[in-house]
Symmetry: C2
Subunit: 166 residues, 2 copies
DNA sequence: CTGTGCATGTAAAGTGTTACATGATTTC
DNA sequence: GAAATCATGTAACACTTTACATGCACAG
């Protein structure tokens, strides 16, 4: 993909993560190129400006795998999780399941924390705090349900071949 | 609250937003103090190190209200929304409802986008992309439900007095 | 004929984290 | 006796955005 494409692609997920600006994206691509993690091919467009199509090299894939294998720090944000999830296709199935399981533990802990806060503090909460608490509970409940469902689906149906049902 | 307290408090919401480091938090508090938006009171502890308890001044409240009144840029992240929600107690009820309504529009648009991506692109999605899409759909669905429910609740039950049911 | 989309890139300015320094108390 | 919690703060470093520069095509 080109730098422009990458930004567009990330912007579509912009609700969950924030996509980088060109001012950080282009320098990063140059660095990756210098490190040999990607290659470029310049494709001149008829009408439009020429595009630089980047491809990940084997070294790049290895580096990505290395990064993913490091795992997430406990307490990682939603954003970090989404990023890893997006790249999960490059991860062996077992690692992906471990990642999801760890996320489940984190969200479960957070959920428990929210429930305790709701019960513990009594009635001395501001409207803002009440709403935030409520919002957090709703989202964590939904995420836990999704994680359980997805863990089930991926555990029972392990073949890396694509399912024919479509 | 003290700087330490603020960090603790924000860390409890750390699943949804990331709390600042002390390296940024303390300088910010000093700036706010110099601008007259907060005041300090040093409370020496018997055992523990002395604590600096900050309080928001009237000028600080006015500045906060000004910031909240600016509204959110379209395309604001979940993090930004949670921050505003948390501070919503300082907002007139009508502004809060407007904020929630705008968030609803944003999430609805994002949800629609995800549905189109799921249908449009066909079957040529990687596992990571499929999972991210699925995850986004699950969370946006849950958030829309919460927003609808909350908008209803706050519209029907507008009194700023606390409900007696507890 | 002004604005928007495509497409890349640089430099300055801003914002943030990491690492360090201090110092007492409690837990393993 | 080492490590963690409480509690504040600074300086160096890393990172990011904002603003600018370039240039063509197309729509209102």
């Amino acid at each position: 993909m080109s730098g422009y494409d990458i930004k567009q692609r990330l912007k579509r997920l912009g609700w969950l993560i924030d996509s980088p600006s060109f001012g950080s994206l282009y320098p990063i691509l140059r660095t990756l190129l210098e490190e040999g993690l990607v290659t470029v091919e310049v494709v001149p467009g008829f009408d439009r400006p020429p595009r630089k199509i980047y491809s990940v090299t084997e070294a790049g894939k290895a580096a990505l795998r290395g990064w993913l294998d490091q795992g997430v720090e406990p307490g990682a944000s939603l954003k970090a999780f989404v990023m890893r999830l997006f790249l999960a296709g490059n991860l062996p199935r077992a690692s992906l399941l471990a990642d999801l399981a760890q996320r489940r533990r984190q969200v479960a802990a957070h959920h428990k924390d929210l429930v305790q806060t709701a019960q513990g503090t009594g009635q001395e909460l501001s409207l803002g705090q009440t709403l935030t608490l409520d919002y957090g509970l709703a989202l964590s409940t939904a995420e836990l349900a999704w994680l359980d469902q997805t863990l089930d689906r991926l555990s029972i149906q392990p073949p890396p071949q694509e399912a024919s049902e479509h």
